[in-house]
Symmetry: C2
Subunit: 400 residues, 2 copies
């Protein structure tokens, strides 16, 4: 394996950007689209409502027939029928005629107003009207809510319950959404075991597998946790090949040992190509990025906070791109709660907790599980900055 | 059916509060808990790390053996073995001894420091040390990250990827979470049909079924959409009984016709008890609340915005209670963008859109699908208020 130099973050991001992954689209039944991202602009194929619709229970009339009505000289119209919601009326109003109509029912031909039954009297087959109805009274006109041809939703919209309801309103039973990228998640380390097993002395429970798999799922991707690879070539290679077979992206997170890094790198080199072996950021120096069969593979650091920081910086933007969610804001400007010191010469990412308008640095060291639990995200400290003062404006990137 | 009087909102909420529903708890495998709500306080059963752990690759030593070391008079220690991550060491250091140790490995007995291999020289079975190591150098002490017995997460916490990772870190493979309430969703109306079918003249596509089912799912509940009941007793009764059988809560949303309301009410009266038939709010006057076999049943208005407003006011708090999510903030204070008029004598809920610091009223009428699509939630206008001025502070309740 040729040694690669440690590169700046920008170069790593350019490499990832250049990977040949494409957003894929799939058609999904409407009832399964909640939370998915629309892959097509949606234009209404119909008018909503699709017909002039009564908005009250009462009498459908030709408004002009009522223009002369008054308390002292009411107008009498003949009631020639009844239309209920769901009916397909064939009746047509001639001058002097009306029909009884219920809310939601389509108006008969030539009717242009519906007078509430509370406002009229009924005598046999006649309705007695005491004041004029204007055209449109008690009517929701065809297409006034949504006209056919109107652009309703744009590709890239995340579908909440309001959007799925809107799609239902215009008759969509299937929708094109972006396919969920499938991400293989592999933990590594001879000392790492799955929760639920008894710990032998010297062993620790896996953290990164769960963190990365669930972070992928929270982003909207599909995670396939493949288990824990031991620090040997066969075990690592087996799981990497499984990942390449089942998934679009493969993420390994290192055990503590540096040996895994070299093994991972040599296996990727054997099966595909290593593009990045080390990034000039803290944490993240040991991060590996490669490609096998056109599928990106990431080797992330073992310490949970470092792992999650590098996932957020490198993998999450790729997932968001595949999911059509690039535009979602994951950053917020805050004031640094107190002074922090950084190491000059390397871009550094410090975990912080957001408290009101403040970003409070979490200074527990990358090895602590609690530092990523207490933190909401991280701030970037440029490589030529040694001190950030309390009160300075900083940009917080949320994890995930 | 006895006619019930229209009651104030508070009374309706008290009735719902009195319903005999209880939060239920279930044990779920950790990998299925993302997004669920914790039903138990979680106390760490173990120290993390569970042993004194090397944080660098190097030599484990008794620090006191190195106190005299200097560049000119280095200390030589005998290397009596090697410990790798995942090993269960049995070796014990005697004065003058050390072992080679890799990052993540447990320290041998009597060792209290690890010196990085870059800082020493190795000659045969001896390591040459040029400066003193202090106790704790290169070591993460047992329990420093999470001590056994520490309260880590409280019941009521929504589990994100950070929390599931923390649970994994302390060895939990199963977690107690609140059971998802199952909600039966029924649409009604002779004129209402499912999307995907051809519209006959006089028909419209269902909106509320999708809106309510997906709002329930967004809240964290399980929705079972049972279809569309016709305006006849048999059809309604059949679906209501199905709902009572499969679910904890039943939600009907009215077609346009008032007849369904009476039918629903009489069926609930027959199978159980009607508690509320009409609430003094706008929209929501026709809302029905009852109980069948101890299961709450809600008859919500047919217009989508009215339906969603009443769902938010009446059903969502109940679901949140069952899900252990009462504490989640669903309200925000904003300034009204412009003057609005209201009807005195009835509590009114106006749909609004949140734009920066403003709440912009959406004045399209409750019949419009677009009014609930454009709105984020609603504001409450008290029954003795006729005019709300632009710039006034209002509280926006988000839909859902």
């Amino acid at each position: 394996m040729a040694f690669l130099k440690v590169v700046p973050l920008e170069e790593a991001l350019e490499v990832i950007e250049s990977f040949p992954l494409e957003r894929r689209v799939e058609k999904v039944p409407l009832e399964e689209t909640l939370g998915r991202v629309l892959a097509e602009d949606v234009v209404s194929p119909i008018d909503v409502p699709p017909f002039d619709r009564a908005t009250v229970d009462g009498y459908a009339v030709r408004a002009e027939d009522t223009f002369m009505a008054s308390e002292s000289e009411p107008v009498k119209l003949k009631v020639i029928g009844e239309i209920n919601a769901g009916d397909t009326p064939t009746v047509e109003l001639k001058p002097g005629e009306s029909v009884y109509i219920s809310t939601g029912a389509p108006l008969p031909k030539n009717a242009d107003a519906v007078i509430q039954f509370e406002d009229v009297d009924r005598e046999g087959d006649e309705v007695i009207i005491y004041k004029p109805a204007y055209p449109g009274l008690g009517v929701m006109k065809r297409g006034t809510d949504i006209p056919s041809g109107k652009l309703l939703l744009r590709a890239g919209t995340r579908l909440g319950f309001k959007e799925t309801a809107l799609l239902s309103a215009i008759g969509f039973s299937e929708v094109k959404v972006f396919r969920k990228p499938r991400v293989a998640v592999i933990s590594t380390g001879n000392e790492v075991v799955l929760p639920g097993t008894e710990l032998r002395y010297g062993q620790i429970y896996d953290i990164n597998g769960r963190a990365i798999a669930d972070a992928v799922r929270e982003l909207g991707g599909e995670a396939v946790f493949l288990g824990i690879a031991k620090d040997d070539k066969d075990s690592l290679k087996e799981l990497i090949l499984k990942g390449v077979e089942c998934c679009d992206i493969i993420i390994l997170s290192g055990g503590a040992s540096g040996g895994i890094r070299d093994l991972t790198s040599s296996i990727i080199g054997e099966l595909g190509k290593v593009y990045i072996h080390g990034i000039a950021i803290q944490p993240g120096k040991p991060t590996i990025i490669g490609l096998i069969d056109g599928k990106p593979i990431f080797g992330l650091p073992g310490y949970p906070t470092s792992c999650l920081t590098n996932f957020t910086l490198l993998v999450a933007p790729l997932l968001r791109k595949l999911l059509g969610r690039e535009s979602e804001v994951r950053k917020v400007k805050k004031r640094l709660a107190h002074k922090v010191f950084s190491v000059k010469g390397r871009m550094q990412f410090l975990p912080v907790k957001v408290e009101g308008e403040n970003a409070v640095p979490i200074l527990k060291g990358s090895g602590a599980v609690t530092s990523f639990i207490d933190a909401d995200g991280f701030i970037e400290v440029h490589e030529n900055v040694e001190i950030l003062d309390g009160g300075e404006e900083v940009e917080v990137t949320f994890f995930g």
